[in-house]
Amino acid sequence: MTFINNSLWTIAAAAAIALAGPTPAKAGFYDGKDVTVIMNVGAGGGLTRSGRLFTNTMKNYLGKGTNMVIKNIAGAGGVKGMNFFAEKTKPDGLTVLWGTSQQMAQLLKLRGVRFDLSKLTVIGAGSSSYVSIARSDFPPGLKRAGDLLKVKKMIVGGRGTTDGLGLWARLPLLILGVDYRYVPGYRGQPKMNAAIRAKEIGLLSTGSTGYFAFYENTILKSGEGTALYYHSTLTPDGKFSNPGVFPPGLKHFSEYYKETHGGKSPSGPLWEAYKWISRYNSRPFGMYALKAVDPARIADLRGAFRKNLTDPDFLAGWRKAQKTDPNFGVGEEVDWLLKEFNNISPAALAGLKKLTASKKKMKKK
């Protein structure tokens, strides 16, 4: 009995020493720690899915035994989660945000916005390209590029008045001079998919992931729908990038415009707004940290983010799920996203405000 007691005491003492012992000198800050990843989008959507895929392998580059824990705080188009992140989290490097960057919400001073994007820094931001898709049988029938201009009243579906997909759908029509009626309220791509199939709407926009997931294999394959044009990032040298993932025949919107307007390039306030969106909304999601976080931690996070982009498991998972290669900018390469978005020309701002304005003014506040 004494032997057992002594043995137990010895084991307990050894365990206590092992547990309470000094941390190894080479241990990293993130070793064994939980990093909370706030997502300002719902648990069921594509952005959460991509965030889960990303953090599933990124944690391995942050530290030994590091865990990245996802917490969805959705609502108000991402504003709720961003407010929470900016106001309630500590700048200890143990909380980051994965989601939409909300430049538009801050620029247009939407209700409920309390965060200030200048107090955030980018760990990494993802690029996306978009496609506008229409029903081929929408009167008078969309067979050739110019047919869209003959449409009397296109019915366009989207989420809300300020969301990116709705803007990608409407803005080109305004620039082309196509009359349309905008129908907001479709809460996500599956709802729009159902609506275009049921002929409730005639046109929508989707990101490249949605294009491959919902449309390429269904209404585009059967000819029920037609992809009109794509939208992509406006690079600093003023050119639109080619994402290289869409069928060769599909053109960028600017090319489509030229083709249907006798080679003339688009211009005016709405075109300025389009260019602004192409610059700032074409990297619509990513990982962000509070600027007040210790720079060494920011460097750790960016380093892990960068390494993860070449992780074979991540690449395989991403390609399988997204059907494209990952396209991310890391750290300083994309920090301008949160710094320069306020530098918008009055013409572009007027264009955006026109597009997102309430149909009727409120009688009071």
Binding site: A20, D34, G42, A43, G44, G45, G46, T48, R49, R52, L53, N56, K71, I73, G75, A76, G77, V79, K80, N83, F84, T89, K90, R111, G112, I155, G157, T162, R181, Y182, V183, P184, G185, Y186, R187, P190, N193, A194, A195, R197, A198, K199, E200, I201, T209, F212, A213, F214, N217, T218, D313, K320, A321, T356, S358, K359, K360, K361, M362, K363
Partner: protein, 685 residues
Amino acid sequence: MFEALLEGLFAVFQWPAIGFLLLGVLLGIWLGAVPGLGGIIGLVLLLPFTFGMDTIPAFALLLGMFAVTSTSDTIASVMLGIPGTAASQATILDGYPLAQQGKAARAFGAAFTVSAFGGVFGAIILAVSLPLILPIIKSFASPELFVLGMLGLAMVGSLSGGSILKGLTVAALGILLSTVGYGEAESIPRFHFETDYLLDNLPLIPVVLGLFAIPELMELAIRNVSISRVPKDQTEGGGMLEGVKDVFRHWWLALRCAAIGTYVGMLPGLGAAIVDWVAYGHAVQSAKDKSKFGFGDIRGVIAPEAANNATRGGSLIPTVAFGIPGSLGTAILLGALLIQGLKPGPDMLTTELHITFSMVWTIVIANIVAAGLLMVWSKQVAKIAFLPGHLIVPGVILFVFLGAWLGGAAIGDWISCLAFGIIGYVMKRGGWPRPPLILALILGNIMENAFQISMGAHGGFGWLSRPVVLIVIALIALTILLSARGITKNKAAQKADADDPASAVRQEASEGGARNPLLSLPFTIILFVLFTWAGLQAFAWPESVREFPLMSAVPGAVMVFFVLISDSRQAYAEIGKHGGLSPALAAAFDKALLNKASMFFGYLLVMILVMPFIGQKFALPLFILVYLIRWGGYNWRIAGGYAFGGWLMIVGFYDRILDMLWYPSWLDSWLPELLPSWLPRWFFV
């Protein structure tokens, strides 16, 4: 097709798929049984584990879990009167009264049998009707969804208990509450009181848990009685086998409700949310003898349980075949499909048909296994109905408040839960039916969305002439007619039973059946003020934003005005009966157990107020400790052990497994710095 059917079946039975399926079933049983958890949380939790898995084992795990949460959620609905998940809300209406009569085992027998039947039948119907699905979905656009929502609301008549006027008023309140937050067409938040919490819709889970769970728990706490009001040795006809036989007796109802579940379940955005209510309403309306509904009629358990399991299969095929998920759960499953590299589309019905069938088989097998396991266990679970109330209350409070917190991780969720707990108590004791509030809260949001889209897409009311819309409008008229006939019959039956004291007691205990005008009157006045204020507020908004608030506030104000007249008359009579206002009030408050109820709410309020300082990991165990010692009269050892068990549950399950986002408490701001590095901070904050 037959080859794919068999290939899918064999694939599910291969290792490791079958192992993951069984694991999923076990997890699903737990997640469904605990109030506030459910299939969505399970999917979010399990999804990361499937990243590296093959397709069939991955879906065996996900679907095995997801398919059975709507079977095990019956446990909380029947035992506690708390919807285990959103899918089992209607089950409480007759399931809980059965438990109170000591017949929980019978309710379980019926529910589990019919759940398995519903799940299997739903899957078979789907497999058979694959070619019909796309035309059905295509013919149900927003106008059809809107009128289907109206049809759901027409069920209010079946859920209103004694007073149809009160039922309709409560439905108007539910619609009004559903308009909280941003409107569909404009970025203008409504009734949000400048808080982030209310920028979007009022979250459903805290409202449901508050409205149903807190009043029942309060009652158990005050009376310290067991859930069953009948001693165990005096229960008759309450065995599990009896429940199984009930399903065979009512096989035609089970079949109809499973069909309702399958087809309504596949409608995007509407199906899964209301299918149990639709099935319950159908059971009431199609019954010859409606008098026992709400008092423990087994048909009130069979109908929703057959439907909610059939829905799981119903919403799966449109998800995989067309990329059109019917609910949030299937939207997450769609995500899993994409992660697996599969694309929803015709391929899932042709080259990948064996995978689609393996999913259908997974649902079938999971439902049968879960029903079998629950049958074996539920005899033990049913014994909880005979435990003292004090031992049940604190543990369930823990689950209720953590369940309320899970969705939004905001203190507003706790405040909503308590606020709706108080509202639920007043409604229950004041003779206001609660189910129409929940039904309208769910439907209001869906209907407003569908209405705005219909108006926008069709440029006006042209959609009213669409064929399916016209058919559904005819069904609405028929439903209202049947409801009115049912209510007239019930009133006549009540009059005939007026001299029977047992009937009066039963009526008093039923949903919306309590008569306490002096408690109801202040609530009526508050509602009148609320509807009027909301209507006035709404006038300031653009048309598309104000339409729905006005559509509920104006009729709500008119209806509540008539309730006000009726309540005032009854209150006046009550005052006369007691010889003055003071004695009448004393009697009314006594009948409503107001003093004790206030104390109970006080306990919960203190817990909420303390939480920002010490965090949830201490506030909830502290509540358990204080409740058991001060209210329950238990000694320190029992109370301490129970509180420690609660803490273990919070830390072990909610923190470590669910990764819950905790409130950043005052303790969190300094305690971690003081802790030795080897001591995990998640023990405390």
